[in-house]
């Protein structure tokens, strides 16, 4: 196995900048790795071999010309198929967009290109980012590199699996209810959900617009921070983008890596360390809390009583927004059109197109959203969920008056076997129990590997106040310095 694929993004960038290797060599090593293992992992929906090598050559030419390169120049990155990539297929894991080649780049993709990173391809995901296992992809599931019979989390299972399988050192995900953090936890990788509005949604195929947050995935906290710095920051094309600079997450990760948390106050969310989590997950979490305490952190328990209602509130708000957002898939402007025989009406063609193009989970959520928004049910469902959202935000605000950051296990369980939860959609929803409150509040959250249970990775989640993304990186990097990175079995 090539050493290059085992390196961190930081190490690769240093070698490229120093001329000890070339971006083309690094890219080819990762393309070779994808060719060797991805038939078993299925992290990628599309590998852009030519585009990647062209981008790598451009970096090498710029370096040869004496240009100053950015901190991630020449580093390969895998992009979740939820982001529009000019001329490169973008499916959102759905048949309704099969074959679509966007005429423009998402802002994040443009920033990745500008930074000299090399896009390897597009990663698998639950259809429209709705799911927790990547089993709802219309193109077949992704397999967890730790145990190929298990799920890699979702919706961004492809991005997380690509990292764990050493197919890419960096990846982009999107997190609406945990779709970056939960896959990170179950694959032993790092996944960060930035503050909502801290990363641009321009060119991100919308699922739930008030919650969708693109963010970085990596094998180390520092790599995630470097990627966060590259993709984050104000975008005038996204009217919900926060017009403030990204906090210095790279400096925070470096500070955390010193292993000193003196003066940092952490709160364990009482509601998330009860009976809900597996014993092995709790054991790894408790050991991590001891490690954080040894590094000087003051750890207390903090009760956030309305977090218990985050899951039901989320599964009203997100489907409501999705039922509205996905109305744009009407068989007119892009994607699939079914049944247009010259006799059928637009409405009939629309209904046949959506029936053929959407999978069962997307249909369920569209119908739940339609129900929750309909007159007569609006106040009891969508309206009430929005009020609960206010109370969850108040719980966070009150907690952050006492502590700098909140911690919990990222997920209640380790990676479950493929097929274990598809028959019971609500069981699938429970995988996001601990990650959802952060989305409703809008603050940042990160999952960092904290140990193993039954030989499978466990993640610890750090949640911080809005626009204090640097805090979570500091705590996560400190824990990483104590736990180390987790190495999956050889594929």
């Amino acid at each position: 196995m090539s050493d290059l694929i085992r390196m961190t993004a930081t190490e690769i960038a240093a070698l490229v900048a120093g001329g000890e290797t070339s971006a083309v060599e690094v890219t080819q090593a990762h393309l070779d790795r994808i060719a060797a293992v991805d038939d078993r992992v299925h992290a990628f929906l599309h590998v852009d071999t030519e585009g990647a090598l062209a981008a790598a050559r451009a970096v090498d030419e710029r370096r040869a010309a004496g240009e100053e390169l950015g901190p991630l120049a020449g580093v390969p990155v895998a992009v979740k198929d939820v982001l529009a990539t000019r001329g490169v297929p973008t499916t959102v894991g759905s048949k309704i967009l099969e074959g679509w080649r966007p005429p423009y780049d998402a802002t994040i993709v443009q920033r990745l290109r500008d930074a000299g990173t090399v896009m390897l391809g597009k990663t698998n995901m639950d259809e429209f980012a709705m799911g927790s296992s990547t089993e709802y992809s219309a193109y077949g599931p992704t397999h967890n590199p730790w145990d190929l019979s298990r799920i890699p989390g979702g919706s961004g299972g492809g991005s997380a699996a690509a990292l764990a399988a050493y197919e890419a050192p960096l990846a982009i995900g999107s997190d609406t209810g945990g779709s970056i953090r939960q896959p990170g936890a179950v694959t032993g990788t790092v996944g960060a959900k930035p503050t909502y509005g801290g990363t641009s949604r321009y060119g991100l195929v919308a699922f739930s617009s008030s919650l969708d947050t693109p963010g970085p995935c990596a094998r180390t906290v520092l790599d995630a921070a470097l990627l966060h710095q590259v993709i984050g920051g104000h975008d005038p094309r996204d009217s919900t983008s926060i017009p403030q600079p990204v906090p210095d997450v790279v400096a925070a990760a470096k500070l955390g890596a010193t292993g000193d948390l003196t003066g940092v106050r952490l709160g364990i969310v009482s509601e998330f360390v009860g009976e809900g989590a597996e014993p092995g997950v709790m054991a790894a979490f408790r050991e991590s809390v001891d490690a954080l305490t040894k590094m000087g952190a003051e750890v207390v328990e903090v009760s956030c009583p309305t977090f218990a209602y985050a899951l039901p509130a989320y599964y009203l708000i997100a489907p409501s927004e999705c039922s509205s957002n996905l109305a744009r898939f009407d068989g007119v402007r892009f994607g699939l059109r079914v049944g247009d025989d010259g006799n059928r009406s637009l409405e009939e063609v629309m209904s046949l197109t959506r029936e053929a193009g959407f999978g069962p989970e997307v249909k369920r959520r569209i119908m739940i959203g339609t129900y929750a928004l309909s007159s007569g049910y609006y106040d009891a469902y969508y309206g009430q969920a929005q009020k609960v959202r206010t109370l969850i935000t108040r719980d966070f605000t009150a907690a952050f008056e006492r502590v700098d950051a909140l911690i919990s296990p990222t997920t209640p369980s380790v990676a479950f076997p493929i097929g274990a939860r598809t028959a019971d959609p609500y069981q699938m929803y429970l995988a996001d129990l601990y990650t959802i409150p952060t989305n409703l509040y809008g603050g940042p959250g990160i999952s960092v590997p904290c140990g193993l249970s039954e030989g499978l990775p466990v993640g610890l989640q750090v949640m911080a106040p809005t626009m204090a993304d640097d805090r979570m990186y500091r705590v996560a990097a400190a824990l990483e310095s104590a736990v180390g990175t987790l190495t999956p079995p050889t594929l």
């Binding site: 008030s210 926060i242 039901p312 247009d340 029936e355 739940i368 969920a385």
Partner: protein, 101 residues
Amino acid sequence: MAAISREEVAHLARLSRLAVTEEELDTFAGQLDVILKAVAQVGEVAAADIPPTSHSVPLTNIFREDVVTPCLTPEEALSGAPDAEDQRFRVPRILTEDVAS
């Protein structure tokens, strides 16, 4: 008691423009019933006087300068369309014949 009937699910599917099959209706009716009963828990929270939150970022009226910037060409904008004609999206008929006549 069921939170939602098979007939109500059929109605939701029509509103959602989903031509679902009879078999799907059977499956979805049971699944949506489980989900709706679970999410109805939000009703347990006393929140009568609580204002709703639709969005976590309190930004309103985001303006930009009224200047022309580069945008997609008609060819690019139509490049993903299932059907196009004369620089327009071509759609199936919208009105039924008796209404049109």
